[in-house]
Amino acid sequence: MTATLVKETSPPVLGAVERARRSRRRARFIALLFVFPALLLLGALVVYPVLFSIGRSFFDASGTRFVGGENYTEMFRDPATLKAVRNTAIWVVVAPALLTGLGLILAVLVEKVRWATAFKLLLFMPMAVSFLAAGIVFRLAYDEDPNKGVLNAAVVGVHDAFTGTSEYPTARAREGQGLKAGADGSYRTSGGVSPGESVTLGLVGVAPKDLPGGAQPAYAAAGRKAAPDEVRGVVYLDFTPGGGGKQGKVDRRESGLPEMKVEAVRDDGTTAAHATTASDGSFRFTGLKSGSYAVELPGSNFAEPYQGVSWLGPMLVTPAIIGAYLWIWTGFAMVLIGAGLAALPRDALEAARMDGANEWQIFRRITVPLLAPVLTVVFVTLVINVMKVFDLVYIIAPGPVQEDATVLATQMWLVSFGGGNNQGLGSALGVLLLLLVVPAMVVNVRRFRRSQR
């Protein structure tokens, strides 16, 4: 009975189990079809290369001899690679901190203006631009010639606004014509001058085409007599265009040198009077007490023009490239921090305001501590990105300065492909880059697992 019962009912049960198993197998097969293409590419082009590089890093340049950890010790012995390690360290210490700080300040300030959206868009826009294009943008901006690079033009403009420009960087006095040179580049009359006397100070070394516009002949002014309490004189170019004329004498066609600073100096070295020459090169000191003075042309008249800063020279190239990086990433930090700011509890801020806290106290005591998690995310994200920086350094640093600016990613490139051709060391540098981001990898995996629970 039971046997027949089993016999009778078992085929349909078995069939259902079989069908369920078959449909499960079918579902699994379909699932694998969905993931297979992606996993194939990931396996062949990401996972396998990671394993290959780790293995390759223990072999020599040609890949035939096992050298153990030699490539890794070489990294810290080879000066070029050591430089790359150092520069990457500078990048990691400086750039993320600056960006997070700047982003925080701007995110707080931008909320106070009505055109916040436009401002955010403008600052975020460089994120769309390639490092190559940004590199070209900044190669232009950092040009050393202040007539071409906008940054140096600004620096020189500010510098000259405070210290003034010198008109005559090339001018000098002839030997033995009454002027002697000082150590600071100034010139001074060798004999004393008393009130009531006139002097003529001849200079050479200024090409007629370099004379300031409106310079007048000095002859008429040189003939004027000085009053009893004044010293008069002319500063002139002791050179007659087309030849002729006499050295040390103001000839008819010789030009005055305008805008020259002149000082009357007492015996004890203190300055008694200042003047600036007129368009015909004439000057006068009035109201001088009797005595003996020296007439001095201060060195600032002859100073070399200020040439600005050598941004892409060996000293400043890394800070300069970090500057370009700030231009690209500040918007990112600002927008991310701004989103965190918008999520802050309004009542905490309102309560603090009611208690009479000022903006700075609110920022320092409430905003920043509450934002700490967001700031950490921004900071860590930037650290990961900064460690891999390549294009900007490769593009902005001019050829000869490349080795001063090199970072891990560029060094890895140079060693493996750019002439170094040492794929053992190159692989080791690649593995080092990977090791540096392993903490981030662990954090990502942990965070994901926690979110799944």
């Binding site: 579902a27 699994r28 699932a31 694998l32 969905f34 993931v35 992606a38 996993l39 590419l41 990931l42 082009l45 990401v46 996972v47 396998y48 290369p49 990671v50 290959f52 390759r56 701007l106 931008v110 106070k112 868009l121 403008l122 600052l123 975020f124 769309a128 631009v129 390639s130 490092f131 190559l132 294009a133 070209i136 943008v137 900044f138 190669r139 232009l140 901006a141 071409k148 906008v150 231009w327 990112f332 991310l336 994200t381 990105n385 390549f390 294009d391 490769y394 593009i395 990613a409 493996s416 492909f417 692989s427 690649g430 990977l434 981030a440 990898m441 990502n444 995996v445 994901f448 697992r449």
Partner: protein, 279 residues
């Protein structure tokens, strides 16, 4: 009194932000104006002199660029690399993301954790081994090679993003579709893809920009006939001064496309970049 002080403070804030905005705009303006000047003008004076003598400006550099076969070829190469690399990543990641979120197969959790771990793997570590591999497969120096590399290194983030987005879908919605007897493929194309559109848009924009702006990968994997704009321009940077008539307009063309994408799809763009920053 307080109001006056606040007004004054606000004025200072506005002034500060205006200055920052100008600082951000100036380098770009410099590039654009330089792209409209001749090499001789650029060699002797700064771009700001155009404000006093606008006669220097002309589109000659751009028309020369259009006639420059290498440059136009490089522009099309950029398109031929960026578009397939974007489409492929979106398609493959959507398929895999759906499977990781809603289909059952052995080792699903473990494999997905591996994908999450791959998120931050630097491109550099793949250069050498993949170059060897492509050499054997005949893909080295070709556009498909460059595309495949970009797809592979774009996938971890893409799968991660889409899997998380798809996983948020209500379970009832999928079960109802399955009850109706829809095949997985039908559910995927008719239900999952439309629902996932915002995430897919952000991903597509992010991936497009990533590939469009890439120089490193193409520097190694593309040869002279398959190189994109970035590599073509990079090869001329050694003579920066004398090539400025090509570099400035070329760089401007190469940045105008992503900037237009940026302004056209602001929200997706910002979301894409924010999500992609884990990379």
């Amino acid at each position: 009194m307080n109001a006056v002080r606040r007004g004054l403070g606000n004025g200072l804030v506005q002034a500060f932000l205006v200055v920052i905005g100008l600082v951000w705009l100036t380098p770009l303006a410099g590039l654009f104006l330089s792209s409209l000047r001749s090499t001789q003008d650029s060699a002797s004076s700064g771009w700001w002199t155009v404000f006093s003598s606008p006669g220097q400006l002309s589109f000659d550099n751009y028309s020369a660029l259009l006639k420059n076969a290498g440059m136009t070829q490089a522009f099309w190469n950029t398109v031929l690399i960026s578009v397939p690399a974007t489409v492929l990543v979106v398609v493959l990641a959507a398929l895999a993301g759906y499977a990781f979120a809603w289909l059952d197969f052995p080792g699903r959790e473990a494999v997905f954790l591996l994908v999450v771990a791959l998120l931050v793997v630097p491109v550099q570590i793949g250069l050498l081994p993949v170059a060897k591999l492509f050499g054997e497969l005949g893909l080295f120096g070709t556009i498909p090679g460059v595309v495949l590399f970009h797809v592979a290194y774009g996938l971890p983030f893409a799968v991660y993003l889409l899997r998380n987005y798809f996983a948020e879908m209500p379970k009832e919605m999928l079960e109802a579709a399955r009850m109706d007897g829809g095949s997985e493929w039908r559910i995927f194309t008719r239900l999952v893809l439309p629902v996932g559109r915002p995430a897919i848009a952000s991903l597509a924009i992010f991936q497009f920009l990533w590939v469009w702006n890439d120089m490193l990968v193409a520097l190694l994997f593309a040869d002279g006939s398959s190189q994109p704009l970035t590599v073509q321009l990079q090869s001329q940077i050694r003579q920066f001064g004398s090539n400025i008539d090509v570099l400035a307009p070329g760089a401007f063309v190469s940045l105008v496309v992503p900037v237009v994408v940026f302004f056209a799809f602001q929200r997706h763009f910002v979301q894409g970049v924010m999500a992609g920053s884990v990379k």
